[in-house]
């Protein structure tokens, strides 16, 4: 009995020493910023583009002395584009007392994660890439995005198909994710009666063999195949469609516009694919300095690197304007901020969407993405 008591006493001493010691080691003298996205897995390229963009912005701020008199520290978390993991990541970041989050990348991750950030003290989250309308339509005061929305994107795609390509028979495929299905449905809705949807089906994210779906599509003889989804599946779909002898061109959205798409599909098969995305940043004068710095440090930029950079700058500018890192006040400041970033002027509406989100149609040609068609203003 005595031995147990001594052992228990030792445990108490050890335990309390441990807590005190770790308490001493932790000094709260940094501003913590979370970065969340798919850092591993098939979409890892996107997560790393996002991380690099934020890292570049933060290193610039730290060189100038940080924000609110403190250095900025980054907490990078991997959500593997899995909604369940995104919630876990959001809780982990909230526990680390981050002042704001840049991310997530996928709409299916951003939407559940945003609820965690709101409930844990209105931590502002600025997503550089999640385009699903539902994200901001719920009216959370802490949710912002610097990219456009899928209802805008789907409308431009439908207009292009109906007016420019004059396509009459369309096949629609999506990957069952919030983003993919959302985009495909917005496209279908905007298309209306302009073209007949001869096939509407799904593929499963992470699958590698889409020949069964493509054979059914081939049988329906569409003049265009629209895909709501992301580049790993889009690349394989395009590659396998060519192997099955499908001649109809592909069209997809911003989730596909990355060099990885061309690499997976193969140069010849990828040629002639239409994609909707914002205009080329290399034509925006303010983006020039960002692109030069990014290329020097990380190599070629991804489609969303610049968005991540601007999102991080926005958050930090908001913080220095608000004079605090407290969630509610920071969110309020961000709503009223007019920010001149690498992408041009960014200003949020009351839902946290950007006021101006121009989408244009791109085409894949000779292994490059080229601007192809702009809708009339």
């Amino acid at each position: 009995m005595k031995k147990i008591k001594i052992a228990f006493l030792l445990f108490i001493i050890h335990f309390s020493l441990f807590t005190v010691l770790t308490g001493c080691a932790k000094k709260e003298d940094t501003i913590k910023i979370g970065v969340a996205g798919p850092m591993t897995g098939d979409q890892a390229k996107m997560g790393n583009d996002l991380k690099n963009g934020v890292e570049l912005a933060v290193s610039e701020w730290n060189e100038k002395g940080g924000v609110l008199g403190k250095k900025i520290e980054l907490f990078v978390e991997d959500d593997q584009h899995d909604p369940k993991l995104a919630v876990a990541v959001a809780n982990k970041l909230s526990n680390s007392n981050v002042a704001g989050v840049i991310g997530h990348w996928n709409s299916s991750a951003s939407i559940p994660a945003s609820e965690v950030y709101r409930d844990r003290g209105s931590i502002p989250m600025i997503t550089p890439a999640s385009t699903n309308p539902q994200l901001t339509d719920r009216g959370f005061e802490n949710v912002f995005r610097v990219c456009g929305r899928d209802d805008q994107q789907g409308k431009i795609a439908a207009e292009f198909v109906a007016k420019i390509l004059k396509t009459k028979k369309v096949a629609i495929v999506h990957d069952k994710t919030t983003y993919g299905q959302g985009l495909a449905d917005e496209f279908k809705k905007a298309l209306g009666d302009a073209a007949e949807v001869v096939y509407y089906g799904v593929v499963i994210q992470g699958d590698k063999d889409f020949r069964a779906v493509l054979t059914s599509i081939k049988n329906k003889k569409p003049e265009l195949i629209y895909f709501g989804g992301i580049y790993p599946e889009a690349g394989l779909l395009v590659k396998q469609a060519k192997e099955l002898g499908i001649k109809a061109p592909f069209m997809s959205g911003d989730g596909t516009i990355d060099k990885e798409f061309i690499k997976i599909a193969g140069r010849d098969s990828a040629d002639g694919t239409y994609l909707t995305f914002s205009p080329d940043p290399s034509n925006i004068p303010t983006a020039k300095t960002f692109l030069d710095k990014y290329h020097a440090k990380y190599g070629e930029h991804g489609p969303y690197s610049i968005y991540a950079y601007d999102a991080a700058n926005l958050l930090l500018t908001g913080m220095s304007k608000a004079g605090t890192a407290e969630g509610k006040r920071l969110s309020e400041t961000l709503h009223s901020l007019v920010y001149e970033g690498a992408l041009g002027t960014i200003q949020f509406d009351q839902n946290g969407d950007v006021l101006k989100a121009p989408y244009i149609v791109w085409i894949t040609k000779d292994g490059e993405f080229k601007e192809y068609w702009k809708p009339e203003e």
């Binding site: 590698k208 020949r211 054979t215 002898g245 990885e260 997976i264 193969g266």
Partner: protein, 300 residues
């Protein structure tokens, strides 16, 4: 359209069959489900990309494509055979006389180890197979069969026939059959059981490597996680045909591929995996030993 789906399904099925053979051969001899077998297939797929990269750098792919594809198969097979051999030595042989569950746990550990080893050494990003094989093919009454599909079907057929002849006609094959019937008795009549088991692992791994190489070419992209789903499918195929039965594994694989392909196109692509497993459940209910499996009493 039906012909096209049939060919798609058969192509997929022959890949499943090749992997399933590794499961069934090991089970036949050791009554062990080698859960790390799917990872060998995944390593085979990675090896294909690496070897082809090296061959392209030396300029061989430009001069002779068939020769370089053959080299990819051979080198990938050699490496995976070595992996299989090492795996048996390290993870299973020390546990030969342990409780039946111990090697099973060891197999799961091996699977997790290999997956993470590949992820850390090769990166977590998808690797893309270089586009060197022409995507064209033969056109037969509306169905287009790509050269790759022909290659996969032919290679699988040759490998499976070779395996069947090896087991039925050679001395080593006879020793394998004897070991699977009764390993103690086999060792009493002078068969080196340890060698036979090692050979079984090597053959299974070479078949998995061939499947990996072909899938890398067929799908065009590979990651460290593909061994998991392919392993589960191939294991299902082995059980479907009757685990331990070699012809059963071939039949099970082809059947599974067909059900998946046809189900996805005629009913719904969302439920592709559901069909495969419904067939498994039905077979297990009505023929618990599998399609070709024989009902045997518990081995004592």
């Amino acid at each position: 359209m039906f012909l096209q789906q049939l060919i798609n399904g058969l192509t997929l099925g022959s890949v499943y069959a090749l992997i399933a053979l590794g499961y069934t051969m090991v089970y036949g001899i050791l009554q062990l489900i080698n859960f790390a077998h799917g990872e060998i297939y995944m390593i085979g797929a990675y090896m294909a990309i690496i070897v082809l990269g090296v061959l392209t750098a030396t300029g061989l792919t430009a001069t002779s494509l068939p020769l370089s594809i053959l080299l990819v198969f051979v080198i990938s097979g050699l490496f995976c055979g070595a992996y299989g051999l090492t795996m048996e030595r390290v993870a299973y042989r020390p546990l030969r006389h342990a409780h039946r569950l111990s090697p099973l746990i060891s197999a799961i550990g091996m699977s997790i180890f290999l997956q993470n080893y590949v992820m850390l050494s090769q990166g977590a990003v998808d690797k893309v197979f270089p586009h060197i094989i022409p995507s064209t093919g033969i056109e037969i009454s509306g169905a287009s069969i790509s050269y790759l599909q022909v290659l996969i079907l032919a290679t699988s057929f040759i490998l499976m026939t070779a395996l069947h002849l090896f087991i039925k006609k050679t001395r080593l094959g006879k020793a394998m059959r004897a070991t699977s019937q009764d390993s103690r008795m086999a060792s009493l009549v002078g068969i080196n059981v340890n060698n036979v088991i090692a050979v079984t692992f090597v053959i299974g791994s070479i078949l998995a490597a061939a499947a990996g190489v072909m899938v890398a070419m067929y799908y065009g992209s590979v990651n460290f996680f593909i061994g998991y789903s392919a392993g589960i499918k191939a294991f299902t195929a082995a059980v479907l045909g009757g685990i331990g039965n070699i012809l059963g594994a071939m039949l099970g694989g082809l059947l599974l591929g067909l059900v998946e392909g046809l189900g996805a196109s005629y009913i719904s692509s969302e439920y592709k995996d559901v069909f495969a497993f419904i067939i498994l459940i039905l077979v297990l209910i009505f023929r618990p030993a599998g399609l070709l499996g024989e009902r045997v009493g518990e081995k004592v």
